[in-house]
Symmetry: C2
Subunit: 302 residues, 2 copies
């Protein structure tokens, strides 16, 4: 079965690369510099377990999804509309589409835009692009997928490629858990341009993160979402175990790129406003990141 990866960033390259390495025909759809490097040298996968050049197809055109039975949508939340418009005309009628994105509403948005089922997936992986066609993997790689008629097939497919998959009937809750954790770290790391270890112990940061988490949990509860696990404990664990990590939002801001903040703290603020649930801490963080994005756009045009 042909597999297409829409969005050849660090997440798309990791899962596309793992599937290609297991023998599946995979096409990565991404920007010219990446596509060119992958066509020339394959995808350099620099993982915790191995370092290999993995050969696979690559294209800059969304039409390359033609013939794919499985499509992994891995674009940034800010590109979801564009991706839907690009994929729509070329999707096979029986293709299975997975949204492997940050944020909590990308699968819904894709589904509404394309008029077909899209399965939301919670992605737990730490990766980054070290350069065109060069993927660095720092840890994990497991997925949580909602139940569907394709559940068994997906579990087997990914398991065969070394990717653990768990089927959960509370993907919405797990997406919110990840969202709230991202809300606690991403903006602070972005605004200060500091790695987690340089701010989690600083004066005042713990109560700020607690406020951010409480607001997120209140909004999720207002939406009827049941967030699993102890989020505050998870936040503390990440702060201790990933001291050198800069958030993706921090990386975007440093590169003058538009971040996903509208789909992180911004999502909590918008949903809170609809539900009349106050989100002052998330609002300050969201607003400042947007101001810094606007400032960067003036300094360094994209």
């Amino acid at each position: 079965m042909k597999i297409a990866v829409m969005g050849a960033g660090a997440v798309g390259c990791y899962y596309g690369g793992m599937l290609a390495r297991a023998g599946h025909p995979v096409v990565l759809i991404g920007r010219p510099a990446h596509v060119e490097a992958v066509r020339r040298d394959g995808l350099l996968m620099d993982t915790q377990a191995f370092r290999e050049h993995v050969p696979l197809q690559a294209s800059t055109e969304a039409s390359a999804i033609r013939g794919a039975g499985l499509v992994l949508c891995c674009v940034k939340s800010t590109d979801t509309e564009n991706a839907a418009a690009g994929m729509g005309p070329h999707l096979e009628p029986d293709a299975l589409v997975l949204s492997m994105q940050n944020g909590v509403d990308n699968a819904e948005r894709l589904q509404a835009l394309m008029g077909r089922e899209v399965l939301p997936v919670v992605v737990y992986v730490a990766t980054e692009m070290a350069g065109p066609g060069h993927l660095k993997h720092h840890g994990r790689g497991d997925l949580v997928i909602g139940p569907s008629t394709a559940s068994d097939e997906l579990v087997q497919l990914f398991a065969g490629a070394g990717v653990p998959v768990r089927i959960s009937d509370n993907v919405a809750g797990e997406l919110w858990a990840k969202l709230i954790i991202n809300c606690a770290f991403n903006a602070l790391s972005a605004i200060t341009q500091l790695p987690y270890g340089r701010f989690v112990q600083a004066a005042g940061v713990e109560p700020v993160m607690r406020d951010v988490v409480q607001e997120g949990l209140a909004v999720a509860q207002g939406l009827g979402v049941s967030v699993p696990g102890d989020i505050w404990q998870a936040v503390q664990h990440i702060g201790q175990s990933m001291p050198g990590q800069y958030s993706s939002t921090a990386q975007d801001l440093a590169r003058g790129k538009r971040s996903e903040i509208d789909h992180l703290n911004g999502h909590v603020v918008r949903r809170g406003a609809l539900l009349d649930i106050p989100t002052p801490a998330n609002r300050v963080l969201h607003t400042i990141v947007k101001l810094l994005e606007g400032r960067a756009a003036l300094v360094a045009p994209a």
Copy 2:
């Protein structure tokens, strides 16, 4: 009567200069570069009304306050303890001490440290140091002083020097009004390094500033302080009328200097915590400015 100005920053230089220009013997106490320039060329006063080199005394030593009947304490809130320790041994027993500082508790702190009465003053002036011995005045210059047996004398002294003074029995309320307005602007301008006009209209900023103001008013109320006027209206007016202004906190951060943020949003947060009044928006702003100060200290040692 000899007048001493403790802290030859932009506020101290303005009032010291105005009094010297009116014929009073004034000594400015400040850092070596300023003192040297003032001794050599006088104080260059670049005001809205005139541009003059005003001759006056200058010293780097707190002992220069000896013989002064009036002492204007114009140091930053972060230097209040040092100033008290420096002035203490040299103050004349009958000298009148005015605290002409930002924040709401400097007069109290000076009073406690020096064991004598210190009058709190609300200072409304827009000034900056354009270089050593070079003061730029952008607007206003009026003072609000609490009632004392010296009220008439102070009003006459300053009026004769072109400085309007109002005596108020609610200086605490006026200091809180100024504090809350500073809380709304200073941190946002500092964190984004943007002038007021570049952020007040941006998405999300108005609700953030409203949260900051509401929290400040709630804490003031909890302390039994009656804040005069419509603070939100004042905030809107400043946003519209000073589009090119960077906050003093923004200037401090840009220069790698310690800011007064602990005495602005930080004060609201600390007092709120004592009173069990939530201050999430002020806390995020305070915490981020502290993180940026710490970061700047690593990059550019003071």
